[in-house]
Symmetry: C2
């Protein structure tokens, strides 16, 4: 489905499209019910707890300078841009592929220098600037370009300029080799018409552009640039995907239905009359022309391969004999005393126990966290996803040629409403998020959830013959889920009572599969005519750590075997030591997790020693599943210069306001000449006691097997890393919690029970009142920006692909 959305998104921006044609305004804007107060405590025990002075409403100590643009800000920026003659903009709703139109409006993240001056030194808030991503279609050589617009609010003093200083190419411009989406669709139908009889024979279906088409046609991403006869050509390989039908009609299983016929087109330039078919592939045999393909098909001995057809196997619904006990409710968590964290919803600021942080939401990467403090000290200045690659391989050109870079599609647009009681606990706090694209401001209702939970194991325990001491492990989670086409990415930021922060990603949803013909080396055969197409996931996180200021050092503490003759030993002993190694400069900054976990990776402030002389620091460590995995392919023919952040497990670089992102959402347009080539950040600068940034990968080498049908499951598709205090405090900070128990006992029985003021939950919980009405599910709400029409929001589920 991915190229389908690409087409979709591009057309949404440039041409008359579903997005550009809002549906009837179905309902008046409403304030939708918060799902906070679901729990009803009916009674409290007599010896109830000490009255608590705790407010679930927080007040951010400073305004959130990272917060997304408001609807009004976005509208003002769009209006300002439309007044700039040089940009020659057309309103998105009216724009064709030959117009210039605004694609995305977002915040330009303030420079760290300015942000710290504001956060730490009573300087004024840095001026606010918008990013405008504009697609220039009114030219024979279309391109996209990012602009910075501001300061905000828009006044006569506001200006705009190309946002070049955050690039490695020197320009935020990138060529668009495929601006004419409608022409591509037309071309595909035209080409397939020439072989309609063959398609009917081999694939048992038709595609003519009508509503009852059997097939969708889409192919590689990114497009290839090939030199043919000395000239650079834009190459598109396509294949046929069957639409789910029958029992499977409702299900989004198209990516399970590749049909095994491929064609190669030269789609160079904007004049589709000059486009060419460069060949066909079926059953592993390449035919250079349509005529040769037709001749082979008509010849004796032509091998027809098995069909890959939809039916119930595509569906995710319950199947098989139900398990007897499963009609009963499984255990469910409740929150008997209400929420124990505080939120400033206006400022997007959260306080939980000893943690506080700001957050924001961007079109490209979704949820991002800023200024994460623990016990009043900043630990992380910025934390968030940078990019997600899904790199396929196969014996066919579409699988081999597909390497999605998902920020192209964006994590923001696809971070949908969460289902309470499933995606997050019923008692979670749900927040909305807005992004601005295609001159619409779209709000995802309830698409971020915040909740405490018990992860099912303790923080601490010890028992002796005299006592038992145990401490609960209460975890605070901020979660969002982005369904980028076939795959659902669940992102968790977990905070723990010992000061640990865990970053988790999980993947579910439909795999993109391959047609099964001679491709055993690229995956398993998992259904009739179907192969689970092997692919690598690599997701990169920026972790801008600040340990007691910005002067930090990355050290490796290696555990190494050694032979030592001690003064007290008669023999040389085979034993081990800790070796402390500093990563001195960016040339050494590309790192992999060591074999056998044989080193700890630590960000320390070498000048800030604790009472015992050890540098105070935080450790970065793999936590779950594919932590630290990177791409198998170190020099991908698809990604070219755009995979620099995915060749190692993690990276350390010097922080620069010019090196903000590991990737750019538009790199996909021309991956050989990317706007941001991450590799260029590594130019040998010293990273010893300076401001450093970590770029940490999570991922998975995914060779789908039958268990990935119908959907990949989260249980075996997850990865996480954690950031945990390391000689930072003088003792375990979880000792502050009341959620512990000590029992002193001997053979005569229990002598003392200490519950540390954390009374056990009491009263009655009304589970019926906690039930969700899933008929409340609504999807997104959108507001048109140009002309600005804030009083008429409309439900906007159609943009969800």
């Amino acid at each position: 489905m991915l190229v389908f959305w690409r087409a979709f998104l591009v057309s949404a921006v440039f041409a008359s499209s579903v997005l550009a044609r809002p549906h009837a305004r179905l309902r008046h804007p409403k304030k939708w019910a918060k799902k906070l107060a679901h729990l009803e405590v009916l009674a409290e025990s007599e010896d109830s707890q000490t009255p608590v002075e705790f407010s679930t409403t927080a007040k951010a100590p400073k305004e959130n300078i990272f917060i997304s643009l408001t609807d009004d800000e976005a509208a003002a920026v769009i209006s300002f841009l439309h007044k700039q003659p040089a940009l020659n903009l057309t309103a998105t709703a009216n724009a064709t592929a030959w117009d210039n139109a605004i694609e995305v409006i977002d915040l330009v993240q303030p420079n760290k220098t300015d942000a710290l001056a504001f956060l730490d030194h009573n300087e004024p808030a840095p001026p606010r600037y918008a990013l405008a991503r504009i697609a220039f279609g009114a030219t024979q050589h279309p391109y996209l370009q990012d602009f910075i617009v501001g300061p905000l609010p828009i006044t006569n003093a506001s200006t705009y300029a190309s946002l070049d200083w955050q690039t490695t190419s020197g320009s935020s411009k990138i060529r668009n080799f495929n601006p004419d989406d409608d022409l591509v669709t037309e071309w595909n139908l035209k080409v397939t018409k020439t072989v309609a009889d063959i398609v009917l024979d081999l694939l048992n279906g038709t595609v003519t552009g009508s509503d009852d088409d059997d097939f969708d046609i889409f192919g590689i991403d990114p497009l290839w640039q090939e030199e043919i006869d000395g000239k650079q050509r834009t190459i598109l390989w396509n294949t046929y995907w069957r639409f789910p039908s029958g029992d499977a009609a409702i299900f989004d299983g198209e990516t399970l239905l590749p049909q095994g016929l491929f064609f190669k087109s030269d789609i160079t330039g904007r004049d589709s009359s000059k486009w060419k078919v460069l060949g066909w592939l079926y059953g592993g045999i390449f035919y250079e022309t349509t005529a040769k393909f037709r001749k082979a098909w008509k010849s004796e001995g032509f091998v027809k391969y098995e069909l890959n057809m939809p039916s119930a196997w595509i569906g995710t619904d319950r199947t098989g004999d139900a398990l007897p006990a499963d009609t009963l409710s499984p255990p469910v968590a409740v929150q008997p005393s209400g929420r124990r964290f505080a939120v400033d919803e206006a400022q997007k600021y959260v306080e939980w126990m000893d943690f506080s942080f700001y957050f924001t939401f961007t079109r490209d990467t979704g949820l991002r966290l800023f200024d994460i403090k623990y016990r009043g000290e900043r630990i992380i200045y910025e934390l968030g996803l940078q990019e997600a690659i899904a790199h396929y391989a196969g014996n066919d050109p579409v699988q081999s040629g597909t390497s999605y870079m998902d920020t192209f599609y964006g994590f923001g647009p696809y971070a949908f409403e969460l289902a309470p009681g499933f995606d997050c606990p019923t008692y979670a706090t749900y927040l909305n998020s807005t992004f601005h694209a295609a001159e619409l401001s779209t709000t995802h209702r309830n698409n971020i959830c915040l909740f405490e939970s018990d992860p099912g194991y303790l923080m601490q325990r010890h028992t002796t013959s005299a006592y038992l001491a145990v401490t609960k492990n209460v975890v605070f989670t901020m979660r969002s889920v982005s369904t980028v086409g076939n795959y659902d990415y669940n992102f968790d930021y977990n905070f723990m009572l010992d000061g640990t922060i865990e970053i988790v990603v999980r993947a579910s949803g439909y795999i993109q599969s391959a047609y099964y013909a001679k491709n055993d080396e690229y995956g398993y055969r998992i259904h009739d005519g179907l192969s689970g197409s092997m692919h690598d996931h690599a997701l990169n996180w920026k972790v801008d750590m600040d340990i007691l200021g910005t002067k930090n050092t990355f050290v490796k503490h290696k555990v190494v075997p050694v032979q030592v003759k001690y003064p007290w030993s008669n023999h040389t002993r085979s034993t081990m030591k800790v070796e402390r190694v500093r990563v001195e400069n960016e040339n050494e900054g590309k790192l992999n997790w060591p074999a056998n976990g044989g080193a700890m990776f630590i960000v320390e402030n070498s000048d800030e020693l604790n009472k015992y002389g050890e540098p105070r620091g935080y450790k970065i460590a793999p936590s779950r599943g594919g932590a630290g995995m990177y791409l198998t392919i170190q020099e991908s023919s698809n990604l070219l210069k755009s995979q620099g952040f995915a060749t190692h497990g993690l990276y350390v670089s010097k922080q620069k306001d010019t090196e903000v992102r590991a990737s750019h959402a538009n790199n996909d347009y021309d991956p050989g000449h990317p706007i941001i080539d991450f590799d260029k950040y590594f130019d040998g600068e010293s990273i010893n006691q300076t401001d450093i940034v970590l770029w940490v990968n999570l991922g998975m080498h995914h060779v789908p097997h039958t268990g990935d049908l119908p959907n990949t499951v989260f249980t075996s598709a997850q990865a996480a890393f954690l950031i945990t205090p390391h000689n930072y405090f003088l003792h375990d900070t979880s000792r502050v919690t009341r959620q512990m128990l000590r029992i002193d006992y001997n053979s005569s029985g229990v002598q003392l029970v200490n519950q540390f003021g954390a009374n056990q939950p009491d009263g009655m919980v009304n589970l019926t009142a906690l039930q969700n009405n899933y008929h409340d599910y609504e999807g997104d709400v959108a507001v048109r920006k140009f002309p600005y029409d804030p009083l008429h929001p409309f439900n906007n589920t159609e943009s969800i692909v």
Copy 2:
């Protein structure tokens, strides 16, 4: 504390000891309350669920042939052995170090061949045999030996024999170089008396054997065998550990209080008058004699090091300003419809959803699982811990010389009662376990818990513009915790709806630390005069997998980069492939997890292909933290020939009834000449389509930092691996559950809600009724076996060290 327990256990077996002197019988035996029915559902909604035919009581399809010996069986075996003149046994309660006495009675696990004949082919149950571990003290050359006794029940036909065939040494005998525990205690006091003035000066305390001693004296484990002047000598290095006092008196923090003074003794032989002091170590300087040490101490310029003293920092109690919200109860899980799994408590057999298994409990390794079936097919014949090594290093002989092998102490004896609401959910099912040692049968009350829980993330999800489909991830856990001295090991066996089994270990409790003097290379300084002593944990699990029978093959499916020129491509492409490699024989059977997760490890039945021609199998994969970690030291001077199972991440060997365990609990007595040398299992035999066993390590390289004070926390000290279907079924088996939701929607709102018969929980939950009375905590109950006194059990907390 570890040597202290060793002394303790040994003395319990051989001599008048606390264990041998039962306390007053405090209470009449009672039937303690089961904690099953804690939840009260007060009301049900009108449209309540379909009546469910589900019983929480299971009936094991066959008797559990793995089940531990009953009290009566153990008593009969002990009685039988006491009648054997050749053994010359003394009742443990009366035995001295110069007597022969029974140490442990346990089940001899039936041979797999016999077990399968019974389980699968209606053959009679294999005859039952007991293991008797006997310490022979009535000799100048004391030793221990394992005997097999049976068949049971004991009749005239019953016999006993040395249990040699499960050894690699050819004999279950092992020399005991340190049988005279009382003499060692006496010796230590005698030695320290000679330097009492120095100890007072340097360590500010005294030790004379009195109740108000400031210090405990213990040292290396295992003991060293050194050649001195051509003769083999038994070497003991000791150090001084301060008893917690003052604020810290209640806390088990002795292992945080090393005092930095060490002495070396030659304790060869049983005549302690021939024992010698071989030197002293203080501040990194070795003194060959007491006189030299004294002279140095008296000399000018003698450097005295900082004291390491107890106070509140040792304690685990709550400390610091309480967090405002923390008086409120955090979220808590409830089980609104009762338990959804079935247990046959008599047969120790469990059924949950599509899983079933038997379990048992052993003195050496605690909880073990057998015959784990999923959907009626055996997946794992045997699953359980084999051994846990904690290998220390340091610049002092006690840290350098310590490499605990914890089955020596046993995981069974230290698997104590669990605290409901902390160790396991309040609603968990708690079961008892019994082990037989020192002629006592000791029952741990409520030391195994079984429960379902929500791990906080889904099994499956997918969203589109038309629908949302989500499936809950309900996990079933069997848990026990063994506190082997300073460390609390939490063991989880997790079962999941997609057929995945996860094996988890977590560690908390007190670290064993080192005195801080010139040892920066071996750990961090974490307190006054204290270093966090670096150490490696390596815990080995036996996983005897049977995939569709016993003929299985271990394969590696590697993901490798390749350069390919395809028929359809003009250029050579940089891409990747899957390479399938068979592990052909045991010589290739020592494996590490690959860098970058670049291979899947699969146990398949190569003869059992699924419908699509792929061999059906299960994948083994790292899951959390230190999965697959092994010892840094490949040839340990401490462990010698006893670390063979801990040099790699995992192993594959041919299953043999003679190769049952990776280690032997008595290897610690003479690690250079172990009863079982795991390395000898690897002798090049083919493992292609034969019965294979995996031996999988979990572990952690632990360099304790300040955050390990007072206790290591579970959050960063955990490791897990998982076993998950791989092309085994034709689709994801979690599709069978009702715990899913589908919402169909469009811009007009929700069109359909399908809850698949899993109604949301309703009614009222009485949290007050769920509260635990922690005054019920009781610890163990024991029954004396010789003479057998089953009517007078007594509470036995004193054996808990």
